[in-house]
Symmetry: C2
Subunit: 700 residues, 2 copies
Amino acid sequence: MGLLGNFYDPSSVAVIGASKTPGKVGHSLVKNLLNSGYPGRIYPVNPKEKEIEGLKAYPSVLDIPEKVEMAIVAIPAAGVPAVAEECGKKGVENLIVVSAGFKETGKEGLDLEKRLIHTCKHYGIRLLGPNCVGMMDTHTPINASFTKNFPLKGDIAFLSQSGATLIAILDWSLSAGIGFSKMVSLGNKALLSEIDFIAEAAEDPYTRVIACYLEDVVDGERFLKVVREATRKKPVIILKSGTSQAGARAASSHTGALAGSDLAYEIAFRQCGVIRARTMTELFDLAITFSRCPLPAGKRVAIVTNAGGPGIVATDAVEAKALHMARFTKETIEELRAGLPVEAALYNPVDVLGDARGSRYRLALEKILADPNVDSIVFIMCATAMAEPIETAQAVIELHKQYPQKPVLGVFLGGESLAEGARLLTEAGIPCFTFPEPAIEALRGLSTYREYREMPKEDLDLNYPNLDKKTVKAIFYDVLRDKRLVLLGSEAAAVAQAYGISVAPIYLATSPEEAVEIAQKIGYPVVLKVASPKILHKTDLGGVRVGLDLPEKVHKAFIEIMENVYRLLPQAEIYGVEVQKMMPKGIEMIIGMTRDVQFGPLIACGLGGIYVNLIKDVSFRLAHGLTYKEIEAMLAETKAYTLLRGYRGSPPADIPALIEAIGRTARLCLDFPEIVELDINPVFVYPEGLSALDIKITIS
Amino acid sequence: MGLLGNFYDPSSVAVIGASKTPGKVGHSLVKNLLNSGYPGRIYPVNPKEKEIEGLKAYPSVLDIPEKVEMAIVAIPAAGVPAVAEECGKKGVENLIVVSAGFKETGKEGLDLEKRLIHTCKHYGIRLLGPNCVGMMDTHTPINASFTKNFPLKGDIAFLSQSGATLIAILDWSLSAGIGFSKMVSLGNKALLSEIDFIAEAAEDPYTRVIACYLEDVVDGERFLKVVREATRKKPVIILKSGTSQAGARAASSHTGALAGSDLAYEIAFRQCGVIRARTMTELFDLAITFSRCPLPAGKRVAIVTNAGGPGIVATDAVEAKALHMARFTKETIEELRAGLPVEAALYNPVDVLGDARGSRYRLALEKILADPNVDSIVFIMCATAMAEPIETAQAVIELHKQYPQKPVLGVFLGGESLAEGARLLTEAGIPCFTFPEPAIEALRGLSTYREYREMPKEDLDLNYPNLDKKTVKAIFYDVLRDKRLVLLGSEAAAVAQAYGISVAPIYLATSPEEAVEIAQKIGYPVVLKVASPKILHKTDLGGVRVGLDLPEKVHKAFIEIMENVYRLLPQAEIYGVEVQKMMPKGIEMIIGMTRDVQFGPLIACGLGGIYVNLIKDVSFRLAHGLTYKEIEAMLAETKAYTLLRGYRGSPPADIPALIEAIGRTARLCLDFPEIVELDINPVFVYPEGLSALDIKITIS
C-alpha cells in the first residue's frame, strides 16, 4: 500500500449526487466507474432515487450498510461540508469533491472550502479537490472522474492542476497512443496536492515517470523536501504555467492561487531535480521518452541518417543542448568503412545515403550500438524512394534488445509512406519523432536527469558554528521598539557579525567625541556617514565623508555632517553619525536575499558595486536545502567567478570564505523569517578573507 | 516572365540520360514529367533507345529537331561537361544537373564542376545543381525531378539545400495537407543559388511565402542586397543548419561548403528581414501561418478558451514572445458580460468555460474580433464533453470573413473528437495547432515581419564626408614595406583619424628629446608606451608610464622604458616609444570589427575597458547596408546604453558622436577589405564628443 493508502484502489466507492440523467456529472461518475471495469462495490447516493444504472441507490452515505472506502461528491458546493461530515462519521477514508463553487469563486466559497478542510482533517480523510475532474487509475482499474474517456494503460502518472487540460490531454493521448498509470485532476488542492501525488507515484510500481501540469505550488518548503526525494527515484517532469506577468494574473484569477515569481520556480525545480518542460509538446515528448528509454550512461550521441540535411540539423541540436557528438572507436570506423558504400559518411553523423535499405541501417546501427564510446543513438529516416521503413524498424527493434541500456530514438521524416514503420517502433517502445530536434531535446532530458541522479547527496544544510541568535533577536527587538523596520548600517553589521560574517567595523556615534573614540578603537582611515533611516541619498546631502585619517578630521567631519543635514533636511530624524573603518579594495561582490512567497529565502550573489543593477551578473539559489556544492555552482554561474579565480594576473580571491559568507547569510534568513530583504553590497573579497561593507536589512 | 525567364515553365524539356528501366533516375525523370501533367514537349535522350515511355528518344540533344528550352541531365558526372557543351550549342536555356560526383566528392569532382560552370556561363545557361533532386512547379505544372511524389498546389515556395530533406518534406506535406507553389532542390549551387530563387519567388504571383532550408550562403554580400529587397515584398523564412561547431563540420563534409559563423548568419538574417526558424517544425508552422494569415496591425493578441490551463499557457507564450495581451474596450467587456455565463472570465484571456458550445464561442469571438484593441486572435478548444468543434469551426470561419484583416489561429487540444473541426478550419485557411505555444510562436513571426515591413527604408549607407583614403593607403604601404601586418598604435590612430574618428593624439618618438617635443606639442599630461609590434603585455615589462606632466619626467621615462625593455627582452625589435595625450575619463566603450567569410565586416560595439571579455556586453551588426538607425538599435541592445543615456545622475554621453564613429569605422572596413581585425578599446565617450584611445588594426 502506497503513501496514499487505498486512494487508488478502494474496495468500495459511493457516488454522492449520483444521477439517472445522462449528461449530468452525477450520472457520468457512476457510468465511468462501471465502464472502467472497477472491481469494487459502487453505491450511488441520491435521496430521490431507488436505483441508478442497475445499482441500488441510498438516501445518504450513512444508510449504506457496508464499509465505504471512497466517496465522490457531485452535489452543489453549499451542501458539501455537511456531506463530508457524514462521510467522516461513516468512516470514509477518501473523498473526491468534483463540485465547483469553492475558493475559486470568492469569499463565500473560501469559507465553504475551509469548513470542508476542517472536517476532513478532523476525520483524517484524504481529500482530492474540490473543483476537480476526479482521478483515474488504469491498473486498479478505476475511473473516479466525469471524463468522457478512459486512458490507455501505461506507466506515466499525469497530474494536472487544470481539469479541462486533463480532459483534452486524455482525448489527445488516445489518438497519439500514449498510456497512463494514473491521471489526477488536482482541482483546488485543498488538502492533497501535487506534493502528495508525486511522493506516492515515486513509490508506485506501475509508474515509471511523473508528468505534471501545475499553475502554482502552495507549500514551497515541503515541495522542495519531498520532491527532492521523489526525483531520486523517478523522473518528475513539470510544465509550470503562469510564468509571465500576464500569465500570473490569469493564473490567479483562474484558481485563486497566488503565483510565485517564475525565477523561484525555475530555481526550485532545478534544485530538486525536476525536469522543467517549456511547452505542452515538450512535456509529453519527455514523458514518453522517459517512459520508454533507459537513462544513457553519458552525453555522447551517435546519429545515423540517410540524408545529410536532417543529420546536420540533429548535430546542431546536440551541440545546442550541451550534449556531445560521439567519437567512434577506430574499430567502428573500420567496420563501417567495410560495410557501407564508399560515398557514405563514416564519422558521426553517419550518412548511410539516400539509397539505404533496411540492411544498410542494420549494419550501421549494429556497429554503432556496440561502440563503447556511444551512449545513445538517434536514427533518422527520410522518405526516400529506396527507404524501407518497416524492415529498418524491425532491425532496430531486434538490435536494441541486445543493447537495452542504450537509448535509441527514431526520427521518421515523412508522411504516410513511413507511418507503418513508425507504428512498429512505437509499439516496441522506441520513441519515434517526425523531426530531429524534439528527439534531441528528449535525449537532453534523459541526460540531465541522469546527471542529477548521479550527484552525490549532500546533507550539509548550512550548519555553521557560532551563530549568535540571541544578539540578532536583541537588535531586532530594539529596532521594533524604535518603530522601525529598516536597520541602521551599524545594526545590520552587528546582525551579520553575530552570524559569523566578517564585516568592516562600524559603530554609531552621537557626538564628535564619541566618533573620535570609535575611530581610535577601529583604526584609521575611517568613513563617516549620517545615520538616519529616512535618508537614502546620503552623499547628495553632504552626509558622507571618506578617507579621514586624523582625530581632528573626524571631529570636524562629524560637526559638518550634522550641520549639512540639519540645514537641508531640518525635519529629518537623525540618530547620529556612523563611523566605519575604510577597508582596502577587494573584488566587489554582492550577497542578497529576497523572500519568495512560495519557496522562502532566495539568495543572490554576483558582481557587486554601483553597477549591480546595470550589469545584472547575479545568480540565485533557494536557501532551503542549499548545500556547499550548490553555492559553489551558483558562484560559478556568474561572470564575476572569472574575477574571483584570478583574472589577468591578479591573485585568486578567497572563494571558500565567500561561500561560507553566502551560506551563513542563507542560514540567517532561514532562522529569521522576519527578514524580508537583505543586501550586502559590496562585500570585498580578498586573497584571504573578505569584508562586508554596506549591509541593508529590512524586517517585518 | 520572372527573373529566371522560362526556368519554371519551359515549352520543352530534354531528359539526357533517360532510361527505360523503372527505378532508375533517368526513368523517374521522364515518368514524373509525364505524370505531373507538364504541358510542354518532352524529349528523352539516350543513344541506345528508340523510344521511352511512348516518346521518341534521340541519340543526343543536338539531334532533337525542335527548340529545347530545358535539359535535365542524369548521366555520370564525367560526361556532364560535354553534354552541357552540346546543350549550349543547341541553345538550351535551362540546365538541371541531378548527377552527383562533383564538388562534394573532392578535387576531381571540383574540376568537373568548374568546367560545367565555365560552359554554362559561356552559353548563358541557367544551371540548377549539380547533385540535386530537381525542381517542381505546381502551377505550370512541371515535375523536373526524380521524386516519388508531386506536391499539392499551394503558395509556399520551398528551397532546399538538402535533396533528401526536400523529398522527406514532400512526403510529409502530402499527409499534412500542405501545398507548394514550387519546390527547388539547390544541390551544389554551382550557378543558381537560393539568392536567385528567393528573388524570383518574391516576384512570382503564385507564391505568397518563401521557405528555405539552407546549409550555407555563398555570396553573403549579394545575399544581403537581394534578400533585403525580397523581404520587402514577401516573407522569407529560413532554417539555417550547421549552426553548431560540430554541425558546421558535418555541413562542410556534406556539401563541401565552408559554413560561416552562426553569429554572422543571425545578424545577416535579422538585418535583411529574414525570419529565422529554429527548428524544422517551426519552419513549416511559420510557412503555413504566413501562407494563410494576413499580417496583424499590431502586437495585441486576444485569447479565447474553454479551459483555464491552456489559456494561461498561451498567455505565458504571448509574454515570452514579446507580444501583448490585448486590453478590451469597455464595450467589449460589457457585451461579453451580457452574453457569457457569470463564471466566465471576461478579461483577456477570455474563458468561455468547459461547457461552452459553438454558440458561446461565436458570441465571444464576434465581440472580440470587432474590438479595435485586438490585432489577432487565438482561440483554444479543449476536448470537453460539451465541446462542439464543428459548429465552432463553422462560426469562426464565418466571422473571420467579416474581419479578414485580423489573423485568427486555432488550437484544438484533443484527438479524434476534434479532428473534423480542425480539418474544416484548415480547409478554410485558418491554421490549426494541437498545442497553444506553436500558435503564439507563429503569431510572433507575423508580427516581427510586419514590424520589419513597416520600418522606413533607409539609404544612408554610411556616406560620410572627409574620408582620406590616400592617407590610409600610405600608412598600409609603409606597414607592408616594414614586413608587418599589425599596425603600431600611432599608425592605427592615424588611420582612424584619416576616416574622421576622433583620437587621442599619439606619436612615435625615437629619442627622449623627440618625446619631450611631442609632449610639448600635444599637451600634458602624457602617457609613454614602448612601441614594438611583438610586445603584447607592455605594462608587465615596465614599458608603460602614465601621468607624466613635466618635460623632465617625459625625458626620464623614455630612457627608463627603453632600459627596462632591453634588459628584459634584449632581442625585441623596438621602434621607439609612443607618446599619447592622457584624456579625461569618459564612458569606456569598445568599437570592434571581425571579418566574416560570407558576410564581410561584422561590427561590434559595447562596454569597453579591461573587462570587455568578461562582461561581454557587446552587440553586432554587419557593415554591408548598415544604417544610422541600425547602429542606434545596436547600441540600444547593450547594457552600456543605460550608462550612455546618463546613469544615476551623470550627464548623458554624446550618442550621435558614437554612432558616427561606429559608422565611420564600418565605412573604413568596407573600403579596406585588407583590414582583417580592428579594435578600438577603449573609446571614451564624453557629454560632448569622444576620444579613441587604444586602436589595434591588423591587415592582410
